[in-house]
């Protein structure tokens, strides 16, 4: 996030929420958005489903999944036509506005409304409401990123904020709500094929040299392969050994058959886990690690806030600290890595990462920080951290615009597979349920697969609420239970991806975003039949 949760929910007149269902996926943020709206903040909801916040929304653009780029280009078009461009901001802080203005010229409200299946008046009203607000954040989530045009979707939303001068200010910004507790941290820590810690680039020879010196060893100079591209590479035999730490791609990645084929084609496959997951079953070696409650460390939340994780219990005998396991393997492969405590590891991270230079466990535990964590960039021990990014100036200098045009999703409904399927989360479970399904009370509330289907489609297919149905895509068939309502638009269905008794990821498509390589979980084509 460019801003903090407190400032986007307390200091804003309007919130534009795009492809995000915080009441279920980020509930404590959802509570704070409900509070903001009850205190008078206007809510523009851009989401294909009638989620709980729809009843709070002043305008709900219930758009067709996969049309975010068209929507965003349309909003920029309207901002320009309505004279809502912040001329001074655009001139002093950005470059390339003319190209953007030219590109969005054809995104008339009428054309965008037709692409997005929304009312043209609502679109114009939404653009004006955002554009006229003093402070308005754009908040988005996986409904924007999990598309074959995901990165372009994000950049198109940034266009809106920049054109309207709403980046680098309190109560504004472009704010991704990260999906998992430490996905921000995993990226910050350099678990990325193209960056070391703190987004220092692998392709920058000076950076590689710095890490070679710090670590005392030669490093591979080639940029690596992204996780979602590792699976095809494994099928082709280019990747032969995989070390997988705490993930369950058999359940959580798109097109399960494709994932299983890749993992079983490996020469050697190691899984480090807490449980015998569907993925672990395919491993050659399983190493038992420790849970968050059994270790010291830090998580970085969606606000870039580094906060402490502390050990409460020892955990089961026999399992080992994950850092101990990595260190042992490094030693056994000939690298002189001493065993370090979590605090010592953070000291090493600070020493090689400019944006973490002032972050240590001692400081996080200090009275000065007072349990508030530290938001990077935090370059030195005196720096208080950075609540709002891009104040006065963008990190990279002048802000640039995306001129990406709208492109339809890779797999659209047709005669054989007439319905669109989108997937997501529900309040009571988390991802593959490795953690939440071990709480009986949550299972009592909900523990099995369902598919939301529009009343009109259900009537046509002779499906009633609660019926068992077969859902088929080009990749597989699964069984699930129909929930018939007006929650989704006609022609669109929705499933949670939590439940193994009918896991939507057998159906989803492994089509990848052309830039970030995120899979298109949010759009594929299916057929639904009554069982």
């Amino acid at each position: 996030m460019t801003n903090t949760i407190a400032d986007i929910t307390q200091d804003s007149d309007v919130i534009m929420l795009v492809g995000s269902n915080p009441e279920e996926a980020h509930p404590v943020l959802g509570m704070q958005i409900r509070k903001a709206v009850e205190n008078g903040t206007k809510l523009i909801l851009v989401d294909p489903r009638e989620i709980g916040l729809a009843k709070y929304a002043d305008i709900h653009l219930k758009l067709r999944p996969g049309t975010n780029v068209a929507f965003a280009n349309g909003v920029v078009h309207i901002l320009i036509k309505e004279g809502l461009v912040d001329e001074e901001y655009v001139a002093s802080r950005t470059s390339g506005f003319e190209e953007l203005a030219k590109m969005v010229e054809s995104y008339t409200p009428e054309r965008v409304a037709e692409i997005c299946h929304i009312d043209v008046r609502d679109l114009v009203a939404a653009a004006k409401l955002y554009g006229q607000a003093n402070a308005a954040p754009i908040i988005y989530c996986l409904g924007v990123t999990e598309h074959s045009t995901g990165t372009e979707g994000v950049m198109s939303l940034s266009n809106i904020a920049m054109v309207n001068g709403k980046l680098g200010k309190p109560g504004c910004g472009v704010n991704p709500i990260r999906g998992q507790n430490n996905v921000q941290g995993a990226c910050d820590m350099g678990a990325q094929p193209n960056t070391f810690t703190g987004y220092q680039k692998v392709m920058d020879p000076a950076v590689v040299e710095k890490f070679e010196k710090a670590w005392g060893t030669d490093l591979n100079p080639n940029e690596g392969t992204k996780a979602t591209e590792v699976f095809p590479a494994a099928i082709e035999g280019r990747i032969k050994g995989l070390y997988l730490f705490g993930e369950d791609p058999v359940r959580t990645d798109p097109d399960t058959n494709h994932v299983i084929k890749a993992l079983t084609n490996l020469d050697f496959f190691v899984v480090q886990e807490l449980f015998m997951t569907e993925t672990a079953k395919l491993a050659d070696v399983i190493l038992p690690g420790r849970s968050f409650a059994e270790k010291e460390g830090t998580f970085s939340n969606t606000e870039r806030r580094v906060q402490r994780v502390r050990k409460a219990v020892d955990g089961p005998a026999g399992a080992q600290l994950d850092t101990w396991i990595f260190t042992e393997i490094m030693q056994r492969m000939g690298y002189d890595q001493p065993h370090l405590s979590a605090a010592e590891i953070m000291d090493e991270i600070s020493s090689v990462t400019p944006s973490f230079g002032g972050i240590t466990h001692a400081r996080l535990d200090s009275a000065e920080v007072g349990g508030r964590g530290l938001q990077w960039p935090c370059p030195n021990a005196e720096h208080p951290g950075t609540p709002i990014m891009h104040v006065g100036k963008f990190a990279k200098g002048l802000g640039t615009y995306s001129t990406a045009e709208y492109r339809p999703s890779v797999e659209l409904p047709d005669g054989e597979y007439p319905l669109m399927l989108t997937t997501g989360r529900i309040l009571y479970h988390y991802n593959a349920c490795a953690m939440t399904a071990r709480t009986e009370g949550l299972n009592e509330i909900v523990n099995s697969s369902f598919i939301e289907i529009n009343t009109a489609d259900a009537d046509e297919l002779g499906i009633a609420d609660g019926d068992r149905v077969k859902v088929t895509s080009r990749r597989a068939s699964i069984e699930s239970t129909a929930r018939v309502s007006g929650k989704t638009n006609p022609g669109e269905t929705w499933m949670p991806f939590h439940f193994q008794d009918g896991n939507s990821n057998w159906l989803t498509i492994a089509a990848l975003d052309n830039i970030a390589k995120a899979p298109e979980f949010k759009v594929c084509a299916v057929r639904v039949e009554k069982l």
Binding site: R34, A191, L219, A293, T298, N301, Y335, Y430
Partner: protein
């Protein structure tokens, strides 16, 4: 601070403080370092001013004033520990206690909140040992609502302070927990009865966190007494909001979670953080030994750490040496700590000799 907020001077028990005119006497007392007891008041959650335990004497006022509801004025002089104030508070607390259904719990002994009950603590502080207003015969007992998997409501212990109502409506903004009737007959309509599934209740438990007594509790509280546990401040392991919470452990097992104040959660938790973040830690099916798959049978067999680690190191070294580092890949866990992720990343780059390292950010 905004310039529009006018400052006024207030004297509390002889201590002069300057505070914004929007402050209550309670907030001014806080600034003056004077402790004023409260019961139905909960900051930012509820200030209905019904219990009158925070009453104070204000010079020039004809009656005692509730500190939680009364705004300061310039030159105000407040006394918080006069004999009148002390006697009045005791009287008010006796009225509250009379309605607390003490006999329903065998006078605190069987109550899950024993030792963590604010009413109990306040009675000790104000030296109230019994209520002059207690009914001579035990009141008719009302059934406990406990069909919700996590939450229970015992109306007999409810003192109608409505902090739970404030928590549901002004904090979680879920609006499912409300009051019924009015005045003396005020009752709390807690959605934990047989129809709990058909309500909009999200089982977040913010009401239980706000309840000063044992009326609304997380059922897990019944498994421990407050003096038997240790609390460890940590960050929730589920979504990326980063809520702060305390893991409550007894005899090496986590038995509960309590919300803590953090900048992103402001004292709140959701159902997953409060109730779904620790059972897995002690699950029976945790892996406790390295496993190596027998190539012939396809079955996993337990192995020592030395065997397993040597096998992993030698296999990865072999693939690296025969095919180059780019034939290896490592995925980090987006659920694990920064320190774990850093070490996995360092392992991949230094000994696997590959930049094929990634995390599950994309799924």
């Amino acid at each position: 601070m905004s310039n529009e907020r006018k400052l006024v001077t207030v004297t509390v028990d002889g201590v002069q403080v300057q505070v914004p005119e929007t402050f209550t006497i309670l907030a001014a007392g806080n600034k003056a370092g004077v402790h004023i007891p409260t019961l139905c008041y909960l900051k930012d959650v509820s200030d209905i001013g019904s219990c009158r335990v925070c009453s104070v004497e204000v010079e020039g006022a004809s009656a005692l004033q509730p500190a939680c509801k009364t705004r300061v004025t310039d030159g105000m002089v407040v006394h918080t520990d006069t004999e009148l104030v002390k006697q009045y508070r005791k009287l008010m607390l006796q009225l509250v206690l009379a309605d607390h259904g003490l006999d329903s719990t065998n006078y605190c002994f069987s109550c899950a909140k024993n030792g963590a009950c604010e009413l109990q603590a306040l009675c000790r502080e104000l030296d109230v040992t019994e209520s002059a207003f207690a009914p001579s015969t035990p009141a008719k007992r009302e059934p406990v609502l406990e069909d919700n998997p996590f939450l229970a409501y015992d109306p007999n212990l409810c003192i109608r302070c409505q902090r739970c109502v404030g928590a549901c409506n002004n904090r979680a903004h879920n609006h499912t927990l409300t009051t019924g009737k009015r005045g003396l007959r005020t009752s709390i309509l807690a959605p934990f009865g047989p129809d709990w599934k058909s309500t909009e209740c999200e089982s977040c438990g913010n009401c239980a966190a706000a309840c000063p007594t044992g009326a609304i509790t997380e059922k897990r509280r019944r498994e421990y007494r407050s003096w038997e546990v240790t609390r460890t401040r940590t960050t929730c392991p589920h979504c990326a909001v980063g809520c702060q919470m305390d893991l409550v452990a007894k005899d090496g097992r986590i038995v509960d979670v309590e919300p803590a104040w953090g900048p992103s959660n402001r004292g709140m938790l959701c159902v997953k953080g409060r109730s779904g973040s620790f059972d897995f830690v002690h699950a029976e099916d945790r892996l406790t030994t390295p496993l190596i798959k027998n190539a012939e049978t396809g079955e996993f067999e337990p192995a020592s750490w030395d065997e397993a680690l040597d096998l992993v190191a030698s296999k990865f070294a072999q693939i690296r040496d025969e095919n180059g580092g780019d034939a290896l890949a490592a995925f980090a866990c987006s659920r694990s700590t920064n320190e774990d992720v850093y070490m996995l990343m360092k392992m991949a780059r230094t000994v696997f000799k590959t930049n094929n390292v990634d995390n599950c950010a994309r799924v």
